[in-house]
Symmetry: D2
């Protein structure tokens, strides 16, 4: 990895979860568009056939003449094989099957607890974490043993707990977590500039923000575009759209796209707490007491959707078919930037351009008031073989309390998962803001959810 | 205050709230029983007549031959007069009238929120704090200007916020907060030793404990009597009494005494979190989500009472009558130790015997994991002109989250009260664990409670 | 200051010390070369005539057709006049006269203590600090009262104490300290790349470094150029030049230029401590025990010079003459970049391009192991109205001790200066590594130096 | 170890260094005088015969009728045998032989560096630490494996590094370091009370002090006797005796007793820094730059002695002879309190009486401004199975710098010893205040001292 020109030497990327669809296509596309990088991508997945399909897709793509970054894709059968001597590790796995996810999301509904996503916090997020941590223990041990110097990029949710688990097992790991939710908020401000001031053509990363908090519950206490302070403008923008909400593709677009929202939660949080919440409404709502997720009607009034896992099952089927067509050359990968930043981050870590962006890392002091070591999301400076967090400061007291409660809960869940301690896990479960049942109902719900995911909890007494 | 023998030079105590009944009688009694101290007590109260009555009672008592500690009691008409040059300040005030307290306790009941006491946290505690802080600002300014070197003992609730307000206004103040709730838990263990091991005659302060947390939500992570670890014994004791509860004066004594409880909350918390909660059930229940305060039936099952303010009104009438009899010599003060530690603390601060006991002080590191400056309750070493906190350590994660949420809320309320910021106060209000209403109902409740106490919120826009 | 294009609205800069020569010319030149900025520069100096001359020079320059950035220069007679409503404040003053500086530098020589510069630490730096702090108190009060929102750039030495004094007086000040010493080390690595690898044309700021420490005693624990780790190369470079030293303009160039050095101190420190010292040898040597400054012969062997104040007096005379020629148009300002970064920082703070560079700021956690609030030098991210320090990490123990000793000493000197406490100042003086005299000689030296600067120590008992 | 009366169950003490003379006699005597304790003492020493002699002495003593505490003494041949299942571990070893100690103390004298003791800091203390750490690694591993729950009392010097080494190897160890130097300062104040105020019969532990700092360089920022603040009195006392010094047994007693001193160093430090230094002058002087240890004449003016190791050799011979007489019953152990506190501490840890006293422990926040984990000396509360440090606060800046320098140096030496890193050890060596040689001489001295102790540095490249 030594290079002094503007092109890195061939590098090796291990992709854990390399049989996945969307994330893999995005990465392939971004790599294909980047001329300064080339090398090998090793795809590892418990579904080896899926990894093989992706290898075919990747190699087919790489042979195209319109592709600038040339890569060799190989499917591998074991974690050590993927990791040995690699330069970068990308982790993007789906923990368990849709069956467990259906339990995460829908079992709580029987008790009146609704979740829009169910993969981060709330009953679903916590149980998903219990299931995911053992997998991350294995991955972290693999990295420690086979690629201790590699940079590790995590995309899996629950982001905070997955990243923290890596550091818990292997404290010297060079891992960080990436998420595009902040980008969405920057794009909202791009739309705002167009609508409110007629300024067109602004790029997402020209919106400069200070990022504080934890993944999916991140906050901005400053935002600017060139010399313009965006806070007064955002206030006017919220005032204008508070009742109806705003979505660049139409206020009612959330009815069309199950992942869309009209930002009514974000706007309400701004009024109540004064900072700009920097994640999608569907995530934000899950971190709050059940104001925005009280019942399906409230959710509809807030203008976003609960995603039934059944929808995900159907969507997956489409992806699998598309993957087959791509693997067999019946369809071509559409070469366009994914909007993700992974490849830019890799470049920066290789010395090809400094980058300041938001990232999930253990707290070394970048978030004042949150415990050392807790994984937090703030800006950081990426340069050659280095990520240095920027001191983001402190949340105002009211928000601090909301965030800190989740931080401790996530630390509790991680400890419970590592020590297989059901009682400790329950302490976190009943402390989640969405859980407002009485103790008996909470115990009953918790037990059902554990039962439904017990195949992924080896060694637990459930 | 220079003395090298076992008797202090005459000292001056300013008693703010010196017209109060029970607390004043207790202090007089304790002072009368202590031979090493003597001097002057200046009684200041907004009800001057009540202070005069107490002066009469005190001087009448002091003239008795069976009294060892001789004191001169005077009622004074102003705060500066009380404070000027005094050695100790005792603050024990009742903020507002029973009318405001009735709103604190009972207005939330209309929304299904029940509080046993309503003076610490919960809707009642928070609104009481808003009302009390301006009074404490005035007191702190008085101490800063007239008695900056005096030691200040606070007894008023909400203890944490009152003590914090003193430090906020006058950072060099030598103030601490005293509370007897931990003593009650020590006494429970005295009863336990008698019942479980047949060990009789143990004194309360022979039970050695490590105290962590905040006032009324304090925890013990170790307890011993001489060479005996009390944790295994407490576990057996809880197992024995878990269903029925325990009270030294009888399991059903809570039906007789409105302040009594059968410790069922304390026992349940021990099972769930592993530490011994060191306050009465009526306080503990208010810090938790509404599991123990769900409704009056649940409260009865938990075997404690909600205290109607009407009861307090009646009780006050009896006290006033008794006060008159005492002032006119128709009845005599009953000379017996109050069970409070104030006089022992004063002695220790005068150099008459080192004392290790629990106390409320700004966090300098005695509570790991809680913010610097937040008022916390731990043990401390009292010696001549010195209180040094003992490092109590850290609460386990599950409990830490419960405690930290209140800590931040209390900091938020204090800031809101100091800056008269209704929106900030509401952020704390809706973040209280007892408040599980939706946003609109919460706003409505908050507004009513503020309206009912607005006479004590000068300068607020309500 | 609201702008959304690539040119800022007219801005106002207050230049404290605006009668100075070199620094002023550099700023004028940099401003003239920058097309995105324009506005007014108010020059304030206790030597009003000098400020007037500079105004003439500046306006003459601004009228030239080859100048892109147009500015209006005015000399003002008072600090408030300079500050009122300005956007930026630049402070670059000379505290006292050459007479006091001669005492700072040369009085210690009578006792065998040699200093190369004498403006930062050592006996000279400490006494200079005592003299400078009262001036900075006045400036900070002015900024607090007349320009509380302005960004303040300090260039005066002792950098650390000057910057700290500003924050001590006005904690909300938006001040930072700038110094070019790190740049010099980056340039050394540019030369190294050319010599060792034949890579030519590298720009100074393409050398990416992590900066730790305090001004003039800063350290790099990583350095890279594009994908190249510069540490192994630096080790080879040091091995090659350890004995003879290295200077891009010739190993013996230090004999020609009194400010030059052959980096022999820097190379020796690398061998002993493993990090790259990022300041000139003349500064570095002053922070160490007198190994490199034992006597003039040792200094010559180290290949740098002690700067006699007499030399500065002569040099100043030349500058004054040149200033007159410039003011009268007999000579033209030479339009070329100064190598300083002030104008780039101003642009970044106006929203015109994010910048990551080293800067002196109070420690908020960017330097682990050093006290909060101590002024330290690390990288920071500059963006619109924001400087966020980057967490630089911790120095290795051996270096930490050397740096921490100066940090405490500087805090002690600042407190001594603010409270006019001679005994406290002496505690710092005798604790300086260059001071290895016995107590009596130290007291005698200290007294002489204070006597020589007493005109600038109002209110002291000396 | 379960007991609820005022006598502990039989306990087992492992004495590492159990062949030593004076310390062993003192412990035996104290144990014999304490009626509430009894049990077994296992004596382990690399000199097994010496341990056997001590066992004889102990058992002979225990059989006497005037002895209240009955103990069974056994000499054991291995560390595991001593440790297995014991309740307490006492460590009091002499690292190496007098030959190495002679090098520690006297080799530096060839370079003009004088040390009074040479076992704590200075060249001697640092090299002694390098030699001792490997022994402590072995002991800590033994405790981890054979007695992880035992309380461990360290008496060996260098106290700070020995105690820190135990925690480094076995972080959950329950170890603390005990030293009587603070007691000596309390006794000085007892003498002061008699002389200045005619108050006689005061006990050492009636002098209440707040202790800050590190072992042998501890400081008091408050001291009282009953209601009396001792600081003004101490100031008068210092003023009175500043020139001549003071020793209860006579100002010139230092000429008689090689361990005595006239407190002239202590008095001078009080004048310079305002706090009371709480260790003997012979230790204090070693922590400062060579003001008090400049040369033998200065030492004599300061009225204390340098202890030649030859003296120790002679003294040891006497002790050995006496030991033989004691073992054979030709002489009787003199039953009197040693003045040490070990037995009181053991009692308190068994639940027999709370104790507040000074102790060496890793910093958990008791010393503000010093790094977490560094071993510091402050007060702590001893109770059943618990030692909780008291928050002592922060040293004033001037003293903080002096202390912090040693703290970092000690951390550096410990790391160097654990990693066998000569270069790192040298960084600490040259940073010691007593070392004011130039680099070459320092390297030469360091090399000689390492050579002289290399038998105890297994695995080092020297």
């Amino acid at each position: 990895m030594t290079h002094v020109n503007d092109k890195a030497d061939p590098i090796t990327i291990a992709y854990i979860g390399g049989g996945s669809r969307e994330w893999a296509w995005k990465l392939m596309s971004d790599l294909a568009l980047e001329e300064s990088l080339s090398g090998e991508v090793r795809l590892y997945d418990i579904d080896y056939a899926a990894a093989q399909d992706n290898a075919s897709i990747g190699n087919r793509l790489s042979s195209r003449t319109d592709v600038k970054g040339k890569w060799n894709y190989t499917a591998v059968r074991s974690l050590p094989e993927a990791l040995a001597g690699c330069d970068f590790v990308i982790i993007s796995i789906f923990p368990g099957t849709f069956e467990e996810m259906a339990s995460d999301v829908h079992t709580p509904e029987k008790y009146g607890i609704y979740q829009a996503v169910g993969d981060t916090v709330g009953p679903g997020g916590l149980v998903r974490a219990l299931r995911t941590v053992p997998m991350y223990v294995e991955i972290a041990e693999g990295i420690r043993d086979y690629a201790p110097e590699a940079w590790v990029i995590n995309y899996t949710n629950p982001m905070t707990i997955c990243t923290a688990a890596l550091y818990e097992v292997f404290p010297k790991i060079k891992a960080f977590g990436c998420c595009h939710e902040v980008f969405g908020t920057q794009r909202l401000m791009v739309s705002m500039l167009a609508e409110m001031l007629g300024i067109e053509g602004v790029k997402r990363n020209e919106i400069k923000v200070n990022v504080l908090g934890i993944n999916h519950f991140t906050w901005l206490d400053s935002a600017s575009y060139k010399g313009l302070d965006l806070f007064p403008l955002y206030k006017a923008f919220v005032d204008k759209h508070y009742e109806e909400g705003f979505e660049a593709r139409g206020t009612e677009y959330w009815k069309t796209d199950i992942f869309a929202a009209a930002n009514r939660v974000k706007f309400d949080l701004f009024r109540r707490y004064g900072l700009i919440a920097a994640a999608g409404d569907r995530h934000l709502a899950e971190f709050m007491p059940p104001s925005y997720l009280k019942d399906p009607q409230t959710v509809a009034e807030c203008k976003f959707s609960l995603t039934p896992v059944e929808w995900r099952v159907g969507h997956r089927k489409e992806q699998v078919l598309r993957n087959q067509r791509l693997a067999q050359g019946e369809e071509q990968v559409d070469l366009k930037p994914s909007g993700e930043e992974g490849v830019q981050q890799i470049k920066a870590l290789l010395g090809l351009g400094e980058l300041v962006t938001n990232v999930n890392l253990p707290n070394q002091g970048q978030m004042l008031g949150l415990p050392q070591g807790a994984v937090v999301e703030t800006n950081a400076v990426f340069s050659r073989n280095s990520i240095k967090p920027v001191i983001a400061g402190q949340l105002p007291l009211g928000l601090h309390s909301l965030v800190a409660r989740h931080v401790t809960n996530q630390q509790t869940v991680l400890q419970a998962a590592l020590t297989k301690d059901k009682s400790l896990a329950f302490q976190a479960f009943i402390n989640d803001p969405l859980v407002t049942l009485d103790v008996k109902d909470t115990e009953s719900l918790f037990q059902q959810m554990l039962d439904n995911t017990k195949a992924y909890l080896p060694g637990w007494s459930i």
